[in-house]
Symmetry: D2
Subunit: 390 residues, 4 copies
């Protein structure tokens, strides 16, 4: 490909990814953009601005000559966990900021996008710029998924039945399941080859696995209902000690978003409004604690991430993030990047469990078999489910 075509392609990709974020938010009212009903959730307005700030701060300021910052305070307002860059906004107070307004945030996006296109035109073949551009777009895609999950959580609290989007989250998959038998041996794990990956996937390395079996399919709502009806949420022997405390303190009796309607049927909130639970759809919005208790109840276990990855070409995945029994820890030889960009992943490698796969909210082509998603054991506002191993 010649330089011009390459640059044009880069700009086209950039435009497409950036546009998607705004499109996700299009059905929202301005009032919706401010909501932060729990600390894990960020307001949609913040996501749109923060992903923009990433380009401004890590790329434009360092690589575009004479770049003029859009607003002197935004760097403070839209920084996230990068605590080494100045004083941060406290995460739990993002929902206290009504300004800049949605329109001002969109103007910020346009300004940064214009400058990014200028930079790509000028330096779109500079390897460092290309690398940061790709990281910025992957980062934007991560926030696109969070836009869906955060909006879903925020609007679910409203007794008015708000419908935003139909992303097929409640659609059935093929429910037939069988066991894949995997032999004992040495497997190679981690990213290899061309294309983008995050630093936490690097350090392709060997692991020794005992023989194991892993299911071809996800656990469904129907199977989950059997767990509920067998009093799985009331049997402490199935649960981790910390999970049992969590369950009791939070009065957990079903996956997040489930409730019984006046007719006694289970309904759940979806981005397309409240619906009766589809029994043949994969279960979603469960915590690691719940996934592990279910596996215990079923007399099986969760796969490790190495088991999952080693078998991943033998089953379909992508409808739900799948809890594994692996803690999120560095691969052998893991190295953080220098400086602030190095805070991207390594600093979260404690008290998080790995999820593998992808969900209906994950942008197309964003995930891959080596992708390591991670959340705390109690998180359940993501589209999270499980696959059994044994």
């Amino acid at each position: 490909m010649d330089r011009t075509s390459y640059i044009e392609m880069q700009i086209a990709i950039f435009n497409a990814v950036r546009k998607k974020s705004v499109e996700i938010c299009a059905p929202l009212e301005p009032e919706d953009y401010v909501l932060q009903p729990m600390v894990d959730v960020s307001p949609p307005k913040w996501h749109l601005a923060h992903s923009t700030w990433f380009f401004e701060n890590f790329i434009l300021k360092n690589h575009l000559n004479n770049y003029k910052e859009f607003h002197p305070v935004y760097g403070f307002l839209f920084n996230s966990y990068y605590e080494s860059i100045g004083k941060r906004t406290f995460r739990q107070e993002r929902g206290h900021l009504s300004r800049p307004t949605v329109n001002e945030v969109l103007a910020y996006r346009n300004y940064v996008d214009e400058n990014m296109r200028q930079l790509i035109s000028e330096k779109g073949d500079n390897p460092e710029v290309i690398s940061l551009l790709e990281l910025g777009l992957q980062h934007e895609q991560q926030h696109q998924e969070l836009l869906y999950t955060d909006i879903k959580f925020s609007l679910s609290l409203n007794p008015l039945d708000i419908k935003i989007a139909d992303i097929s989250e409640y659609v059935s998959s093929d429910n037939s399941k069988s066991w894949i038998e995997m032999p004992e041996g040495i497997y190679d794990i981690g990213f290899e080859g061309k294309g983008f990956c995050f630093d936490n996937e690097l350090g392709r390395h060997s692991v020794f696995l005992n023989s194991y079996k892993i299911s071809t399919g996800l656990i469904t709502n129907n199977e989950w209902l059997q767990f509920i009806n067998s009093r799985g949420y009331s049997n402490s022997l199935l649960w981790h000690s910390e999970g049992w405390s969590w369950l009791n303190e939070n009065h957990i009796e079903s996956p997040m978003f489930w409730e019984k309607n006046s007719a006694g049927n289970w309904v759940y909130y979806t981005l397309d409004g409240r619906k009766e639970v589809n029994l043949s759809a994969p279960v979603s919005h469960i915590s690691y604690f719940e996934a592990a208790a279910f596996a215990e109840w079923a007399g099986k276990r969760l796969p490790t991430e190495a088991e999952w990855e080693s078998a991943s070409e033998k089953f379909n995945w992508g409808q739900r993030w799948e809890w594994t029994n692996s803690a999120y820890l560095p691969y052998p030889g893991y190295k953080k990047a220098e400086g602030a960009i190095g805070e991207y992943n390594g600093k979260f490698m404690i008290n998080q469990m790995v999820l593998r796969g992808a969900s209906v909210a994950t942008p197309e082509n964003h995930s891959r078999k080596t992708y390591r998603n991670f959340f705390s054991a109690s998180a359940r506002w993501q589209f999270s489910g499980l696959r059994l191993a044994g």
Copy 2:
């Protein structure tokens, strides 16, 4: 006045009061209407809807034939402290509701207003309707003041310097002060005569007062600065035990909204943006704890509400709510109204201190010398100041 003129007058008053609430919010962006950064504060959208719900629930439903509720869920969403009417929205979660939108709330207001005008036309000379109408409008005015103070608090947290309105909150008063000497004797306290009052002002009764003196003027920012500079915030002997704990836990070192700018000067946030502290303006946004500590430091004391009321025609008041040293308790013979409307005042008569007067945010003619405002001893987001007695 004939019936027609009387009805027209009632409608005109109704229209004027209702219009004022919307006007106060006019400079806001839709995103601003959702904010609830602390539990004492309600979102502007909620105030507009709740004051409307009051008319719908207590008047239209009972008195307008064939009145059709605007929306079946609003009664649940916009109820406030009236816990005897159904299941309430938890107060701290008002800021989690982006819907109904501002426009939907305005439509609700228009619908209820139209029906109220219809009702007034039909029954505007019915004493019970008139009485409830007056209560509804006074209630609306109370929320107009809260709109100002809640908006001020919410926007003050934003590092962007947001300007909404100039209500002269930082303007100097006449600072000359002298002492009024009041003789020992029996004074009559509480509301008397025609016109509206709240039930907590009723039960006009005699009190015996020792001789006392009370100042003609409010304490100014300049005097407060002397208190700060004399280390008044660091001397535990000046403070109530609970006030001292409150001060230390919340790192209180000045009135709310004060901060030192980079040049070392005191500035404060006002509805007209951040400004240097006007030394000759009355001090504002102080808690009862601070007012009492200042009085102790000055070798004086706060007046009781009976002292304030007995002397109130001898001094000017109205620029700031004034903390008294009286707890908010029932007057002799106090009776709550029957049913839900009876919850208006009586249920708050514990752990609250009385403030007398009015503030720059109080609607004209809303207050009077017998008016009993009340807040908890730590509240400081109101326009609250003090006058000394001895």
Copy 3:
């Protein structure tokens, strides 16, 4: 009385009061002396040491020549709320201190007592010493009552049925009740005459009271059971808003210490072990919130402290502290003493309600009709009951 007899009498009184504190604790095991299961409660060991420290710090150090402090760290450990004297022990951490041991505290008591007797012999006719001595003994008596109530609370949490003392707390009183009619007029309130009183009783002053009636008797457990059975704890209209929140957060459904046994009968923990509730005994261990809700349910009200005091010679009192509807505020002309001793009362005059009378745990002759006891509206571990007014 000659000086020698007077001194001997002072020493005899001193000995008697000091001995009583140790006698109250005599049935305790060493392990019991450390308990502090909630912040309002202090360990028995702390009470014994703190009341001793009061004599050492306020009297011996200032008045006994060459007095040598018993231990350099005790001043820090056994100071209470006197925050102006050095750095205090955090109140909630008193139960974390196992040392000094009980025996060491008793040695501290003996040492201070010996020195106090020496001081009284030398200066027992010095008015300042006499005045401080009297204050110290009254202070000790206040802690004697707290010893009973704190021990009761601490041991009540133990499933083993611990019996410490029989102080007749569950004994019936005469239950016949009638109304005393009191005429409108000016009454004089506050302490007058010789003998000891606390500074908060001073400033005898006139109050104007409307005519009122007040009951000759206390509300009994039987009457309280009717309140429970009429679902008084479930009817929000009876409760203050803050009381209703308190009740729901703490799952309050009966007076403190009450529980239903396996046979469905109400039993309560007493210092003499668990017993069936005596229906004809006065109700005890209720909060102000509960007392006020009961009065509302009964169609009556609580008396003000002025009403109580004005009628107090017309009824019997002393079996229970009685909640009034008066906030704990200074009397006209109230002045705090200079320095640390001035912190005794004034600093608590916010968010507390006054109780009048005395209880079965109050040392004989400690209370009087002008005595102003006070606790927060939610406190219920004291022997607190109520008498109605109307």
Copy 4:
């Protein structure tokens, strides 16, 4: 060995282990036995009773004919995390129970010991009894270490300088350190052979390790001081995100128990009283967060537990528990025992990090190279240190 000798040996071992727990507590005063100043800590009295209850509940009740429970309430009071056995005492309320007294607990111990000896005499060659006996003694030994660490924490809060025992916790080790080079390859991990191990060590299995190096020695206080003096506690880039929040919320600036004395020197509390920090002793009482930050600062990393175990015969260990970078997760094929005894380990396998080695407080012969200790990442009241890898 003949049966008689074998039984005698079993009884001798039983007596020795049981005696040690009481000996550890011998220097305590009765008041010390009640302390529980934080939820992780249990009162010494509770440890003595709980380890006794383990024998009574899991062995005597099931295996000794006609065994009569010592006290019907003790099963409730001294159960710990075994939530499947009846209603448990809330862990944070253990310090609220002064009864049974120390003497009563010792009587409970004697009674159970007598019965255990009887049981061993009768069935000391029954494999199930032997297996449970061994588990009970290992469990007792775990609580012996906790007795030391819990007592240390509790007494450290007292400003009086309490000395209980000299267990050489502050003694220097050999400080010379070198690197052991370990080649890439397959290593076998987990317990093998005769003798006791916990179920979490079972499932000996192969792991593939990249080549690595591991230090022969522990990090010393001197090295830690360099970390402090290089502002390691202030550099967010060295810390996990959760560690950085923990550090700021808890104002962590040094290992637990360290403070600067008036001369500006670092001192620390030991079971033998406060002492100047011994610079050549291994650092102790650090959290995983601190260990990981130190490793980052040093340009190295913590070993994984597989790396530690594989190299463990090439270095000395036993002076401090050593944080690894491994989360506490099940080994391949891990199976919980049936019933309540199965709750011993598996239920804690979330959000805990593994420590390897042993400490000065670990009973002799209690640990081994496959032993998996575990604590949460913020725990620091254990004798925890670190060894670097790279």
